[in-house]
C-alpha cells in the first residue's frame, strides 16, 4: 500500500456561531463553526441561492480544486458557469457537514478554549443536526428561502430533511440517489468500515491524535469497502475485468504475489491511501453513524407522507439503474410518499452502469434533467 500522509490542517472559509447549537442527542455544542464555499453571486432580492449538500466523504469544495488533494471539485461536472447548476445564474453554497473534517465543527475541533480537541468524545450528530447547522449558515448569509437544495446520497438525505423541516425555506428540492432511511444493508457496510478503523492499533481507542498516530490502515480499508458499494459489477468488469497488474513472469511468482496482483486491487489500494490524506477517522465514524440514524419514516410516525403534507416545494428525484446502495425502489418509495402528500414531484431513473457513483460522474441524461428541472422551477419561482 502507498505511503500515507495523514490529514493536514489547512485554513477554510468559515463562520463561527458563538452561541453554539443544541444537538438531537441533547448535548449543546458550546460553539458552532460552519466551513463553506460559495460560487456565483447572490441577486439583490436574494432569491437565487442553491444549497448543495455533500455526501459522506464529500466536502464544501464542490467546484474548485481541493486544498489538500489539488483535484477538481467533486461536482465540477454539475456546478459551474454554464453547467447544469449554473453559477452564472445561481448563487451556490456548500457547507462542510457538522461532524466533518474540512473546517466545520467535528471531532477535530477544539472542545473549549484550550488545545484539547473533541476526538472520539465528539457527540453523536444526526442528519437533522447537519441541516440545522446549514440553516444557521443560510440565515447568516441573509437568505430566507433557498431556490433549491440539491444533494446525492447522504446529501440527498439532507435535502429530504430540509424539505421536511423547513418547507417554506426550500422552493425546489432535489434528493438524488438517496432514501428516506438508511437500509440494513447500508448500515451493515458502514459497520464493516467502522470495525476496520477500530481494529487498527493506531486508532488508540479514538485518541490517535494525542498519541501522535493515524489509523491510516483502518480508514483505508473502510474506504475500500465503501468504494466497492459505490460501483457496480458492470463498472468493475468494464474498468478492470480480471486484468493483472503487470504480468507475473512465472507461475510461482503469480501464486506468491499478494497485494497489487489484480488491477482492481491496485485501484482500491489507491482509493484507500489517497482518502486517508483528506479524511479523519473519527469524522468517518461520526458521519457514518449519522447516516445510520437517518429514518425520516420513523420520525413521522411511520408515514413518510406526513413529513411533506401540504408542502409547496417542487421535488425532483433521480436514481440510477445500476445503483444497488440506494436502489431506484427507495427513490420510488419517496416519490409515492410525495404523491400521497399531494406534492409536485418529478421522478426519473437514469440508465447507467456506473452504480451509486453515477451521480458524481458524466451522465448526460442526468445533467439534462437537472438543468431542465431547475430551469422549469425558475419559471415558477419568477426567477
Amino acid at each position: 500500500m502507498d505511503q500515507t500522509v495523514p490529514l493536514q490542517d489547512v485554513p477554510h472559509q468559515h463562520v463561527v456561531f458563538a452561541d453554539g447549537m443544541m444537538l438531537d442527542c441533547g448535548v449543546t455544542l458550546p460553539s458552532l463553526t460552519v466551513a463553506y464555499r460559495t460560487y456565483g453571486s447572490l441577486n439583490p432580492v436574494r432569491s437565487n441561492a442553491v444549497l448543495v449538500c455533500h455526501a459522506l466523504t464529500g466536502d464544501q469544495y464542490v467546484a474548485e480544486p481541493h486544498p489538500l488533494t489539488g483535484k477538481n471539485g467533486w461536482w465540477d461536472a454539475v456546478v459551474g458557469p454554464g453547467k447544469p447548476v449554473d453559477t452564472d445564474r445561481f448563487f451556490v453554497i456548500c457547507a462542510n457537514v457538522l461532524g466533518g473534517c474540512m473546517g466545520s465543527t467535528g471531532p477535530r475541533s477544539a472542545r473549549g478554549d484550550g488545545d484539547d480537541v473533541w476526538g472520539i468524545d465528539f457527540p453523536p450528530v444526526t442528519i437533522r443536526d447537519m441541516v440545522r447547522a446549514q440553516k444557521r449558515l443560510i440565515e447568516h448569509l441573509g437568505i430566507g428561502r433557498l431556490f433549491a437544495a440539491i444533494g446525492g446520497s447522504m446529501g440527498g438525505m439532507q435535502v429530504l430533511q430540509w424539505a421536511a423541516d423547513y418547507p417554506e425555506a426550500v422552493f425546489a428540492a432535489l434528493p438524488i440517489a438517496t432514501a428516506s432511511y438508511h437500509s440494513a444493508q447500508n448500515i451493515a457496510f458502514n459497520e464493516v468500515g467502522r470495525q476496520a478503523i477500530f481494529a487498527d492499533p493506531d486508532w488508540r481507542g479514538g485518541r490517535y491524535r494525542e498519541a501522535g498516530t493515524t489509523p491510516a490502515r483502518g480508514l483505508a480499508v473502510a474506504r475500500m469497502c465503501a468504494h466497492i458499494t459505490y460501483l457496480s459489477e458492470q463498472a468493475l468488469a468494464r474498468k478492470f475485468g480480471r486484468r493483472l497488474q503487470g504480468a507475473p513472469k512465472t507461475a510461482d511468482e503469480a501464486m506468491s504475489l499478494f497485494g497489487d496482483m489484480f488491477e482492481v486491487e491496485s485501484y482500491l489500494h489507491h482509493q484507500g491511501s489517497t482518502f486517508v490524506r483528506r479524511f479523519d477517522a473519527n469524522s468517518y465514524l461520526t458521519i457514518t453513524r449519522a447516516m445510520d440514524y437517518f429514518d425520516l419514516v420513523a420520525d413521522h410516525g411511520g408515514d413518510l407522507a406526513a413529513a411533506f403534507r401540504g408542502t409547496k416545494t417542487r421535488f425532483m428525484l433521480a436514481s440510477f439503474s445500476s445503483d444497488w446502495l440506494f436502489p431506484t425502489e427507495e427513490s420510488r418509495t419517496v416519490a409515492r410518499a410525495l404523491n400521497r402528500a399531494g406534492a409536485n414531484v418529478s421522478f426519473v431513473e437514469i440508465e447507467s452502469d456506473k452504480g451509486h457513483d453515477a451521480f458524481l460522474l458524466d451522465e448526460p441524461d442526468f445533467h439534462r434533467t437537472l438543468a431542465g428541472f431547475l430551469a422549469g422551477c425558475a419559471v415558477h419561482a419568477g426567477l
Partner: protein, 213 residues
C-alpha cells in the same frame, strides 16, 4: 426505438387529439395526465391555461425528455401508481389513448375518479366500420391505421367500442358530462347525438366523466 422493441401504446396523433382534450379542461385547475408522453399536454395546459398540470409516464426516455423540459413528470404506471394519490387530489385526470393498453381498465377508471373530480378519457374505437368489415370479410384480426399492429405484438390488450364504454360508465355509475367521436386526424365527427352512428364511423372517442353525486 428499434423496430424490434414492443410499442407500449398506439401512436398518438398528439396535436389534434390533445387539443380536443385541452378544450375540455377549465383554466387554473389541477390536472394529472396519465401516460403523458413527453409532456406536450401538460406544457400546453400550464402555458395557455395556467393549470397545475403534472404527468405520469411509463417510458423512461420520455420521462427524461419531459423533465429536461422542466415539466413535472414522474416515472410510473397507470395500473399500479394511481393508488398512491390521495382522494380528490386533482380536478381532472386525463388518460389519452392509453385505456386500451392498461391491464385493468375498470380499476384504472375507478382510481381516476377517486383521485380526480373528473376524468378525461380518449381511446381508439374498435367498433369502427372498417374494423368490423375486415373481421367479417377476412376472418382475421383487423389491421387499420389506428389498429396497426399484429395481434401478437400489440400493446392494446383491452380494445373496446364506444358502445362498450357507455355501458361501462353506466355500470360503474359515472356520469358522461360530454363525449365526442372523431376521425383519426382528430376532426370532430358529426354524430354526437347518435352513439350508434358514432360507434360505426368514429375512429376515436373522447369522454368527460364525473363521479355521480
Amino acid at each position: 426505438m428499434s423496430p424490434h422493441d414492443p410499442v407500449r401504446f398506439v401512436a398518438k396523433n398528439l396535436r389534434v387529439d390533445l387539443r380536443l382534450i385541452a378544450e375540455m379542461i377549465a383554466p387554473r385547475t389541477r390536472v394529472l395526465d396519465i401516460g403523458c408522453g413527453d409532456g406536450t399536454l401538460i406544457d400546453e395546459l400550464f402555458t395557455t391555461k395556467g393549470c397545475d398540470a403534472r404527468g405520469i409516464e411509463i417510458d423512461m426516455a420520455l420521462v427524461t425528455r419531459a423533465v429536461a423540459h422542466g415539466l413535472p413528470v414522474m416515472h410510473g404506471d397507470a395500473d399500479s401508481d394511481l393508488s398512491y394519490y390521495p382522494d380528490d387530489a386533482f380536478d381532472y385526470v386525463v388518460l389519452s389513448r392509453t385505456l386500451q393498453a392498461v391491464e385493468r381498465p375498470r380499476e384504472v377508471l375507478a382510481q381516476m375518479l377517486r383521485i380526480g373530480a373528473r376524468a378525461v378519457v380518449s381511446f381508439p374505437n374498435f367498433g369502427h366500420w372498417q374494423v368490423r368489415w375486415q373481421l367479417l370479410r377476412r376472418g382475421r384480426m383487423p389491421m387499420t391505421a389506428t389498429w396497426g399492429r399484429m395481434w401478437y405484438e400489440t400493446p392494446n390488450i383491452h380494445p373496446c367500442t364506444i358502445q362498450d364504454f357507455f355501458d361501462l360508465c353506466a355500470a360503474e355509475g359515472y356520469a358522461v358530462e360530454r363525449w365526442l367521436a372523431a376521425d383519426d386526424a382528430g376532426r370532430r365527427a358529426p354524430w354526437r347525438r347518435f352513439p350508434r352512428l358514432a360507434n360505426l364511423f368514429g375512429e376515436q372517442a373522447l369522454f368527460l366523466l364525473r363521479r355521480q353525486k
